[in-house]
Amino acid sequence: MLELLAQTGLNAVYAASYISLIAVGLVLIFGVMGVINFAHGELYMAGAYTVVLMYTDFQVPFFLAVAMGLIFVGCLGLAMERALFRPLRDNPLGGLVASIGFLMILQAVAAMGFGVRMEHIAPVTQAVIEFSDRVRLPVARLYVIIAAVVLLTALWLFLKKTRFGWALRAAAQDPEAAALQGISIKQTARIAMFIGAGLAGIAGALTAPLVSVNPHMGHSVIITAFIVIIVGGVGSLEGAVVASVAYAIIHTFVTTFYDGVIADIVGLSLMLLVLIVKPTGLFGSADRA
């Protein structure tokens, strides 16, 4: 029993890692751009397909392929900022529709380029860390955990310690006042979109060998990310991380002891409960609704 608990705990840590990478990106984009990026799950999918293309088809080393995923998806984010969100700055509902349109385009491109079948990716490493007979952590999952910890720490340092980070937070808090202080709103928007999209891309790239890669894989991911950012408080990065961990623990344990559908229902009910009791989320402030 203790071993089962330990194993489920390890699974939860892994789930929390990639969920938080995706959710933090989504929150960052929402905070700075003021738009809910429905295509975020498809950015994750694009990251996974970059690895399929580079690592499986072109035999590029895995970590180089992952870095390419980060950069490629970050550039997709830049393109979205320029083509969609900047012209629709004063039209949040329009930004939503445009991101849905972009989502359909990405899905169609993936389906045309790779087919709708599930992609098989050769495992990067077969190594497994064995804590005991029944408590095991595949090294491929460890990579995801390490990447999440390193990247999120780096992002935190960037936001709190550098001038760019201050500018970004200022622009998220009050765009007009920030612009009056000489902060370029366009510049901060570009940085936020690149980082936000890139985080989704690297999450997709790193988990590509561990999940089934297909054009619709973003669907369940975006729902999870929505739950997490609502529970954590829209606009709060710390909240997103804490909520990712809480959600991953609850979801993994309910899946192990009941089943996946019940776990989804519990997760959604949790989000509904938070919305009813404290709509601004556990860590949210009242501004920017």
Partner: protein
Amino acid sequence: MRSVIFIVLGACALLALPHGLSFSQQEILVFLTINILLVSSYRLLTLTGEWSLAHVVIMGVGAYASALYSKELGVWVPVSILLGGATAALMAVLLSFPLFRMKGFYFLIGSFAAGEIIRLLWKRFRDPFGGPKGIKGIEPMPDFSIGIYDFDFFEPVSYYYLSGVVVAVCLWLLWRIERSPVGLTFHAVHWQDKLAEASGVNLRAYRTLAFAIASGFAGIGGGLMAHYVGTINPNSFDVDLMVYVLTWAIVGGTGTFYGPILGCVVLTVLNEIVLRELGFEQMRPLIYGLIMILSILFLPKGLESIVQHLATRRSEKGVKDRRAAE
């Protein structure tokens, strides 16, 4: 007098419409008719300023309820469709208690969560919802004859006529509701909520009323669909269809009664007929997405703004002509 002629001509055109189409296009026409009801009922909810992501699931509540009433309880199909609508309205009233504690963006996400929970419950509970496979072998609409025309409801043309009449009646009711004092209050709830509240309007009650009415009509649409298709499952009402409803409404524009209908008809015809005929089968979602983006970038007020523009130009021209004649 002129408007009567227009209505008669329009009705004749709609009656003749399916006979020039292929079988698969006739089937699309049936779904288009039902979707018009879906998107028009959605607009009634948006009048109060709330954008729900649960509307398609609510339609599913109507479909499941109607299918179960006719299958398990042996209710006559036309009655069970109406009961399905009533069940959907009741579900909306129940959902309103948690959901209307929120507004705007939070309502959008909250309604999504509520809808998804309902959908997962269908998936999880085999009895009575049939689990992931859903309900099969739903009672079809009983055939009947009106002398000049025999209705055989396995034929899409017959079902198109039936659903056309039902949807037309529903649209007329929706139109009457919007023009009534109640409908005007819906507008006030959205645009001048503080003033409305100060004048003694119970905002919460009117929001709930709009939600219940919109859901009731969506439920009727769901019932119409269930008894035509014969099988329904949780994936028939997933977020993909909801996204389509949302885009029909936004691309068409929600400022007028005809805006969402226009969006639904134009986008469906474009997606299902034009792109298919041109042979872009695989690229359809890509082109559809592109059209969505372009229309939101260049027509932010929706397709209805083109119609309004043309209408004002025509009336201006009419005024000028009359002045010239004088």
